[in-house]
């Protein structure tokens, strides 16, 4: 039963509204609350391994519980843990000793994993999640003596490790499940866990299971994956229709998203738009306004379905059906022309990606602002909405630069992948007419060519104001200050 739907409206809103950036001084106790406690991590993939390395290097006692079959077959998870000299054992061996069990398995396995682990947990132990889906959407009931917390680093596992080793960290969301905090120690544990990851140096957002799930699902299926997939596939097809060399178009789309969102990461939407010439910026602004009008109902539908639980109900039906829809959509994406046209080996300079692919800046601005606005309308706070929209765009874009949409859909969770296809399937037809108007100067060729660069000054002032004064920019400037030491994602 969906946990969120069991709550009163008052309680729903209270939990959705939970979003406070925690002050550094809240972490003065360091890792003390977890010192000497037995921490058992379930799962040793990228998050599991890298988080475990950080926790151990922060002086905590970490071991890994794996399924008997993973140990017997010496699967990658077993090798990851043993090659780094961690103690590894079965659920039966390790979980009864644990003071804190950290579940870092994929979403889809949560119900099974928790059902197996919970009976083995000792009285008064704690259980940590990095995603609230299982608690909120699947309504998993946890034994009442167990403390349930969430710590969710907002970066891939290798970044979690890399930033820690340079003496920094990645931002995290933290939460304590209000139904499962019998001893009142939930926050002490969550904070110590954040410190052990290094996240207290980059910003910890005090959130709730509900706020995390409802914003995370929304972000991943709209701006992060859905919109980037839609923009990539439609832009490529349109460029080819407009006579742009396919290998050039392929390269522009594959790497452009990475380069352009890098500017977003450091300077927000206005920082990204500032990379365009004045006439190009005004054009991109106008296009993005149009895109926002067309796509707003779709964004709202996604948010509404997430809030009502309809999205997870339908998706869980597909789980039961052996992922039939997911696998069909996955196969369809792999057959698209963009996926099957290798990027050419021509050199494209950083600025050329902005100048020759103005359409993408318009798409990204529209997507970021829409996702942010729609989340806030639904009661999610600006800080949560920022982390689940703008903040993650460069991370997803980077996966596309690596190996196109195939890589993006491989790296993200099944939940995100399912939501992404859902969005794409609805959004592509919605934009059909819009795309017909897109000429080569908006995608494929330099917009500035043959123009003298003059603009209406008062129009430019208004456009700049609209960009800079958007609420996503105001909260973004504040949160990015915490991450002043952010390093460029790639150095290539």
């Amino acid at each position: 039963m969906n946990y969120f739907n069991t709550l009163s409206l008052r309680e729903k809103l209270r939990q959705l509204h939970q979003a406070d950036l925690m002050d550094r001084s809240e972490f003065n106790d360091g890792v003390e609350a977890l010192k000497g406690k037995k921490i058992v991590i379930i799962g040793c993939g990228a998050q599991g391994l890298n988080q475990g390395l950080n926790l151990r290097d922060s002086g905590l006692d970490v071991s890994y519980a794996l399924r008997q079959s993973a140990i017997d077959e010496k699967r990658d998870s077993w090798k990851n843990a043993t090659n780094n000299n961690f103690k590894v054992g079965t659920y039966e061996e390790l979980i009864p000793t644990a003071d804190l069990v950290i579940n870092l398995t994929p979403d889809k396995q949560h119900s099974k994993v928790i059902a197996a682990a919970m009976p083995l947990m000792k009285h008064g132990a704690a259980l940590s999640y990095s995603h609230g889906f299982n608690i909120v959407e699947e309504g998993m009931q946890i034994r009442k003596d167990i403390t349930v917390i969430m710590v969710a680093p907002k970066c891939p596992g290798t970044e979690v490790r890399a930033e820690y080793l340079r003496g920094f960290g990645v931002p995290s969301l933290a939460a304590v499940h209000p139904d499962n905090d019998p001893e009142g120690k939930g926050w002490a544990y969550a904070k110590a866990y954040c410190v052990a990851l290094g996240s207290h140096k980059a910003g910890v957002l005090k959130s709730s299971f509900v706020a995390e799930v409802k914003s995370d699902l929304m972000g991943e299926q709209t701006i992060l994956c859905g919109l980037l997939q839609t923009a990539s596939l439609l832009s490529f097809d349109r460029m080819v229709e407009n006579g742009i060399e396919p290998s050039y178009a392929s390269k522009l789309v594959q790497y452009g998203v990475d380069v352009i969102s890098e500017a977003l990461k450091h300077g927000g939407v206005s920082g990204m738009m500032d990379r365009l010439s004045n006439p190009a910026k005004i054009k991109a602004f106008e296009l993005s306004e149009e895109l926002k009008n067309i796509m707003r109902p779709l964004f709202r539908k996604h948010q509404d379905d997430i809030m009502s639980g309809e999205f997870s109900r339908v998706m869980m039906e597909d789980w039961k059906d052996g992922d039939k829809k997911l696998l069909t959509w996955r196969a369809q994406t792999r057959q698209t022309p963009f996926e099957n046209t290798p990027a050419g080996d021509m050199k494209i300079s950083e600025q050329e990606y902005f100048d020759n692919y103005l359409l993408l800046s318009a798409f990204i601005r529209a997507g970021v602002e829409l996702a942010f606005e729609t989340m806030c309308e639904a009661g999610i706070q600006p800080a949560s909405a920022y982390y689940e929209s703008l903040h993650e765009v460069p991370l997803i874009a980077n996966t596309i630069a690596r190996r196109k949409l195939y890589e993006m859909n491989r790296v993200i969770s099944d939940t995100a992948e399912y939501g992404n296809y859902l969005f794409y399937n609805a959004c592509a037809p919605l934009l059909a007419d819009f795309m017909k108007k897109i000429g080569p100067e908006l995608a494929g060729k330099n917009y500035n060519e043959g123009k003298d660069g003059s603009v209406d000054n008062s129009l430019l002032v208004r456009v700049n104001e609209a960009l800079r004064d958007h609420p996503v920019e105001i909260i973004g400037r504040k949160l990015r200050k915490y991450m002043t030491a952010m390093r460029p994602i790639k150095t290539a």
């Binding site: 990851n80 490790r161 340079r166 920094f168 390093r487 150095t491």
Partner: protein, 488 residues
């Protein structure tokens, strides 16, 4: 080896102008090199040696004229091949986003190509016969690391791999930027023999180095002064040494650091294995406060792995009998508790250092043990930073980006980072890589000057003649085993 009498012009440079970061580096430089000549380009750090080689190789923008002449009376490829002073490799995903000490964190999926796959890629691109690479691999002790990933190699092994590629290619023009950096003595000797043979076959070789031991066929010497090439008539490594004014040791360094335990480091029967490969065999070693150790061993003998156990960077330290600063490893301490007591420099630390940090921030980060710098420093700490910058002659560049400085200056700044907190233990893993002769002497003199004040240090260096005098103990490794452990 046959010595073909082939003559003619090979490199013809006239009026070369190069600017870097707004400063004129080369200013109307002229240079002519004949076929089959060996050139050494030496001199102080920051004079534009690297820029010259890069311009000749067409790797950077320049003004003026660079003409390269290639000949078809030889099978050697018509190419000017440049060997960078640092090895730059990519992950399988094509980016270069690696992090400090990543090689000790084992992930199941390979992140980079293996050495063998990288060689195959290089050979395929250039149409080379793999059988001709094999003797080179053997000569540089590479036969056993065919299955190792690029990420796992030490800095010396990276250098060797670069050289193997260059020597396998046998280009008509070979440009080497600091080819000896990180190489042990035997490898340097091997390299010189191979380069002699190559020059004998008619290749033109130019190298930037301050190393005095050169291939016999390197007979022309030059340095860059005022942006122009000045030929000198003999091996110029000592000429560039200018008298150095050593400033008084900053006051805070004249104090002994606070020592947690007279038994600073104790390792008992430590063994490190990766799968089947044993990297360290049964090492027992104890370092007492106040001792100054030299750590020696050939490339790949396990020095860096040993040091990573001491600095909290190696996961296998948790399962070994190691005590650091009087506390058993894995007894609830964090790596930051350990790093707080250590000042460290290594080729890896330099390689992975934050490219966006200024010199000031880089030095400041030594106080917080971060790579770069993110937290406020106190007034006293600020004074410490400034006095160290002054001591190393870096005050005038303190607001510049570290990564934009010449390599030698970058090194000096990272050395300042080591001592800025007056650490209990200094770990100096090839600290003078990339320094010119004068800078090396400056640094070793500084060590000798501060060492009487209760300092403890571990020093790795491949050049016997370039060591500080204060060293009093030695640990020598060979293939992961201790072959000497005692006083010197």
């Amino acid at each position: 080896m046959q010595n073909l009498k082939k003559s003619g012009i090979s490199i013809d440079v006239s009026g070369l102008r190069v600017s870097y970061d707004g400063n004129v580096v080369l200013d109307g430089l002229d240079w002519r090199a004949e076929r089959g000549e060996g050139w050494k380009i030496c001199g102080k750090s920051g004079t534009g040696k690297t820029s010259l080689l890069k311009a000749v190789a067409g790797k950077i923008k320049f003004g003026g004229k660079v003409e390269l002449k290639f000949y078809d009376d030889t099978e050697m490829p018509s190419e000017a091949y440049y060997v960078d002073n640092w090895y730059r490799f990519e992950s399988l995903d094509g980016d270069k986003n690696f992090y400090y000490q990543q090689r000790y964190n084992k992930q199941e999926e390979n992140e980079t190509l293996t050495v063998y796959a990288e060689l195959m890629r290089f050979g395929r691109e250039r149409g080379l016969d793999y059988r001709r690479a094999e003797p080179l691999l053997e000569k540089f002790g590479f036969m056993d690391c065919r299955h190792r990933q690029l990420l796992e190699l030490s800095s010396g092994e990276h250098k060797k791999l670069q050289l193997v590629c260059a020597l396998w290619l046998r280009p008509q023009i070979l440009l080497l930027d600091e080819p000896y950096v990180g190489l042990d003595k035997l490898s340097r000797k091997n390299l010189n023999e191979l380069l002699d043979a190559l020059i004998g076959e008619g290749a033109t070789v130019a190298m930037v180095t301050n190393d005095p031991e050169l291939p016999g066929r390197v007979r022309r010497y030059a340095k860059i002064e005022g942006g122009k090439l000045v030929e000198v008539d003999r091996n110029c490594s000592e000429d560039s040494v200018e008298p150095i004014l050593i400033k008084p040791v900053p006051y805070f360094l004249q104090k002994s650091p606070k020592i947690d335990s007279p038994d600073m480091l104790t390792l008992k029967n430590v063994t490190v294995r990766y799968g089947q490969k044993t990297v360290l065999h049964d090492i027992s070693w104890s370092v007492k406060a106040g001792q100054k150790w030299l750590l020696q061993g050939r490339n790949g003998s396990g020095k860096s792995t040993l040091l990573s156990l001491l600095d909290g960077d190696h996961p296998q330290a948790y399962s070994s009998d190691i005590s650091l600063f009087g506390r058993k490893r894995g007894s609830g301490e964090s790596i930051w508790d350990i790093k707080e007591k250590i000042g460290i420099i290594s080729p890896e630390l330099h390689w992975y250092f934050d490219p966006n940090a200024t010199v000031w921030n880089s030095v400041a980060s030594g106080l917080k043990d971060t790579i770069g710098w993110f937290l406020d420093v106190s007034y006293d700490e600020q004074k410490q930073i400034e006095s160290v910058l002054d001591f190393f002659g870096l005050l005038d560049v303190s607001n510049r980006l570290l990564s934009k400085l010449p390599l030698g200056k970058q090194r000096l700044a990272l050395l300042a980072r080591v001592i800025v907190k007056n650490p209990q233990l200094m770990i100096l893993d090839e600290p003078c890589q990339g320094l010119d002769t004068a800078q090396t002497r400056l640094f070793n003199d500084i060590l000798d000057a501060i060492s009487p004040f209760g300092k403890t240090l571990i020093y790795v260096g491949h050049y016997e003649t370039q060591l500080p005098k204060c060293l009093d103990h030695k640990l020598e490794l060979d293939q992961g085993r201790v072959i000497y452990n005692g006083s010197i």
